[in-house]
Structures are given as C-alpha cells and as structure tokens.
Assembly symmetry: C2
Homo-oligomer: 191 residues x 2
C-alpha cells in the first residue's frame, strides 16, 4: 500500500481562493461563492456539482474551500464539505476547528449535507452550517443523500451547531440542473 493518502483539489482552486480572499458580511454573497465553486467544478469538469467554503463566523473572512472530487479522486468521501473542512483544518493547524484560539467557523455548502457530511460536522468543530439547495433538489437530478438522521437539524442544534436552509436556493438548483444538461456523471445511484 502507499503510505500516504493523497487527494488533489481542482487545479484551478488555489488561484480562485487567492483572487477571492476577503470578508463577505452578506450571507447571500457567501453562499454565492459556494455556488460559484459548484459551477466552476462543472465548467472545468473537475467533479460533481457541489461546492463548499469555510468562513470565519465573526469577520466573515474566507478561510478555505472545496468541491466534490469523488469521481476525479476515486474516493467516495471526497464530498465538497469534507474537502473544504479538511482544507480549513490543515490551514488552521488543528483537527478541531472549535479549539480555543481558532476563529469560530461557518460551513457554507451549495447543497444540504448528506448522511456522511452531516455526521462529519460535529467532529470538525464547525459552529454554523448554511445550505443552498435542499436534499430533494439533489435527488431530483438523481443524486442520493443517504440515510441521514431524520432529525438532523435538531441533532446539530443539540450540539450548539446552528443551521440555515434555502440560502439562494434557486441559484444553487440552477447549477444542479446545468450539470444534468451537460450530462455530468451521476454516481452512487444504485444503492
């Protein structure tokens, strides 16, 4: 076996991050960045139609970003949220973003988290989650959101993690539909 598990971010992402550094006080603007990531992932054929970004909850500074890389990296866990969270953990130097001394972090995702990403959120130290498209929107184009906890928002709230839904939902859904029109691969459909 190889000693190192390596997954590449899209080659356009580091430059995108550099050119988008700054503060974004408006929640819609933050979501539009996540949606832009999902759109660029389609345009560059670098993965599925999902994007996510991590912001400082106080200053609203962009900290890290990720896109879906499941097919491109050959790894089923490489969802946009996991890629973004891990980039933030690497950048801030700790596996728990809620550790004292680090900024409180927000996860902004172009779509509601699936069963896995929901379960990953408490471990990550994320304190707030903002979602664009609904899981039903993802299912409408053939994706599966998995056996997510039936009361997932309350389960996160119970751990002091707040959740906002339907931020710029129509814009997020438009990107999902653009992916279908481009015949992007829909995977994990036969479960």
């Amino acid at each position: 076996m190889e000693l190192t598990l390596c997954l590449n971010y899209p080659d356009w992402l580091p430059e995108w991050l550099l050119s988008h550094s700054g503060c974004y006080p408006d929640p819609n603007t933050r979501m539009r960045l996540a949606i832009e990531l999902s759109q660029l992932n389609i345009q560059h054929e670098s993965g599925g139609p999902f994007g996510a970004a991590i912001f400082d909850l106080n200053s609203h500074t962009l900290i890290a970003a990720g896109t879906n890389r499941v097919v491109s990296c050959g790894a089923s866990f490489a969802h946009a949220e996991i890629m973004a969270i891990t980039a933030a953990q690497k950048k801030l130097g700790h596996f728990d973003l809620a550790t004292n001394g680090l900024p409180r972090c927000e996860l902004v995702s172009s779509c509601q988290p699936c069963a896995m990403c929901f379960g990953a959120i408490p471990w990550s130290g994320i304190r707030h989650v903002a979602c664009g498209a609904r899981d039903s929107d993802a299912r409408n184009i053939g994706f599966d959101e998995g056996p997510r906890h039936p009361d997932w928002i309350k389960a996160l709230n119970n751990r002091n993690i707040s959740v906002d839904l339907d931020i710029c939902r129509d814009e997020a859904v438009a990107i999902l539909q653009a992916y279908v029109k481009k015949n992007g691969p829909i995977y994990n459909t036969d479960l």
Copy 2:
C-alpha cells in the same frame, strides 16, 4: 492553499499488511486483525484506539487496512474506517467498491461506526460491516459516537448492507481500556 490533501498512514502499516496478506475464513480471526491494528496504533502512538480492515467477502482475502489518524494527521475525518475504505478504493481503483468487476467487500472495524462513518458506508460500496466494541464501550472511555441515525442497522440493511455486532467484543473493549491506562488522548469530548 496546498493543491493536495495528504494524510499519512502509520509508518508501520504497509509492512504489517505485507506480513498479513492471505485469506481469513473465520470472522473472529478477521476481527482480531482489526483489533490488532487498534492495539498497534496505541503501541506506536500513531493514533486513537481504533482499527479497521477490508476483506474480500467471498475469498476472505485481506485487501486494505486503516487506523485512527485524527490527531496525528490533524484531520477530523481520519477515522479508521475512512482510512481503510479509502485505501481499498485506491488499491482497487474505484470510488465505489460495489462496482461490477470488483470483489464484494467487508468492512471489519474494532468498534461500531460513528455517525460519520455510518453515513460513509453506503457511498463506499461496502456490502457487509462487522463490528467489535459497541458505541457504548467507546463512550465508556470518553469518546463520542456522534448523532448517529437512531435506526442505523436497519438503514444499512435497507441498502443491502448487512451488519454483524459484538464480534470478539471483549477483546476489542480490552484495547479501549488499555488506551485509557496509557493516558491516550480522548478528543472531541466537549461537543
């Protein structure tokens, strides 16, 4: 940002895999390998007290393995199950282990999957899950299993993924307790 997300497996793991290649028809023997991984992870101080291995469900050949690397790699998703599943996906060349042409795969884990790993299982293509310690055993030493789906076994069964519990549970619990005696770090405790 770095273009590549890299996580190291323990440096002792590739050699362990080479020296343990072969078929293991007895479910208890397969579990003892996962438990041995958890014990070695403590002994080498390479991570938390959790080990996992992937086997071919038909031939019972050992395919891949992983251990908990959360603290050592600074990544909250680096649970033993995720590390093992990803190693198997890299080795077999596909993000979906249930793809036609690949062996049907079993995940053998020294402890029941947490909320995240439960959600990761359907995406991985794993067809059978064998668990050693219970989530209550992990909680007893201070670990948290997260807001897992309340009916997680049925949820996996509904997706044609079978689950066996309590395989060599006492031996798995003994390793968890050895970790506590060695004052191993318990993380994600303040959720």
